[in-house]
Symmetry: C2
Subunit: 254 residues, 2 copies
């Protein structure tokens, strides 16, 4: 198999790292790769925050659902959707005056621009993940950076048009983590469809999820769906994520 495909197939999330820093030049190679990621209209609507302050790492380990391995990750990268730079540049270039003289309403970044920036940001993040794998580094996405918006905003000093989208923990994999079995994926027939969306029903759903049943269900659940619903979907962090993302949207659109 082609080396690139092999890298994609071999990659799995790594949460346990060797106690060994990621050298400066390796980090640079990684960031240079990230910045080659496709970007809408070549706008690069993202900022990558490199976190090397241990106090900040410790805080993020707590705020991102109390996952202590975050504090021990040699390299933490926070991926921010960023329309602030472009909007500040527009203002700096006098678009307010331009709009006034041409009798146009000044347009501000809307949720469409936000979504485009989120696209750019994640495309850069996944390019980083694949580059990291190629450099022998393990990585893990932390979606919990979407929670506690106000706290993270203040922690990173984010202005209005900059929002946290995802975070990556990166480092050399500890041997036991590297040997962990890769997680299964759902069968392609449920994920890939042709021309129009097909909504799965009863038996098909049972078939799709049949491998997902844990040997011990959470208290009160009688099947895998109820188990997952109680443990994850209705959990505090899911509820908080929606509150937080709602707050982001409102702040952006104010």
């Amino acid at each position: 198999m082609n080396e690139v495909l092999e890298t994609i197939h071999n990659r799995k999330s790594i949460r346990a790292f060797e106690n060994k820093p990621v050298p400066y030049d390796v980090t640079e190679t990684l960031l240079q790769a990230a910045m080659r990621a496709p970007t809408a209209g070549n706008m690069m609507l993202y900022t990558i925050l490199k976190i090397d302050d241990q106090e900040l790492k410790d805080k993020l380990a707590v705020s991102c659902d109390n996952q202590s391995f975050i504090a021990r990750a040699p390299l933490l990268l926070v991926f921010l959707a960023d329309y602030q730079r472009w909007y500040d540049y527009f203002l700096h270039c006098g678009v307010e005056e331009l709009c006034r003289t041409r009798n146009l309403n000044l347009r501000k970044p809307g949720v469409g621009d936000l979504m485009l920036a989120v696209n750019d940001t994640l495309i850069a993040a996944q390019t980083t993940v694949i580059a990291a794998e190629a450099l022998g580094l393990g990585s893990c996405y932390i979606g919990d950076i979407l929670e506690k918006y106000e706290y993270h905003r203040d922690l990173f000093h984010l202005p209005k048009y900059v929002l946290p989208v995802t975070m990556l923990c990166i480092g050399y994999p500890r041997e036991d983590a590297a040997e962990r079995v890769k997680s299964r994926r759902f069968d392609e027939k449920y994920i890939v469809q042709r021309n129009r969306y097909y909504r799965l029903e009863g038996l098909e759903l049972d078939m799709m999820f049949k491998e997902s049943t844990r040997s011990k269900l959470v208290d009160g659940a009688v099947n895998a769906g109820q188990d997952f619903y109680l443990r994850k979907f209705a959990s505090e962090f899911s509820v908080e994520m929606t509150r937080s993302v709602q707050a982001m949207m409102e702040s952006w659109s104010q």
Copy 2:
């Protein structure tokens, strides 16, 4: 340079394709790679729609900002954020009854779940782009699939918790397209920051954007920022994208 990094660095958007289909097994290799992309809690919160109906391609070329090359792309993949499958599974597993007996409110997918699904979706899309490049295929993201939500929803028969996030045109690059010079990126010092966000000011913004000035500015603009603002940021498709994404959010949260 390592083959993976080389692939990332060589990739550029391709909009002109040879008149040659992508063979079935190559498409399968691509989709298998996509499905190995990291996914939050192994939920795979996306569906990939393979578009091979020419009538549908023609419609998408029109609806996505009248870009005729879309209709000529040998392979079109629409990436949909998908919480419908999981939510239907929860209902199929009797969570409504479970909530009733335990006196809990039934939780529905919120905007946090939507954002997590958007994460999953784009991570899979960018994995596809890198795999395509490795297979000698060119690709181009079409962000315009975020526009005209109601039209695309009806075209693909999308239920409430399935939203279009991005689209990829894929095919073998036409020679002239393959030889096109890669677009520049902004300097790393503007994109990568340390520990906290630093908001650029006047002169720094001028420096950052100094290479972006086109030789001929749009009518009425006196500098690069005004030019970009009028041509892109305040254009009809930008305004439509925000209206459409707003409609998606409202439909999801209803």
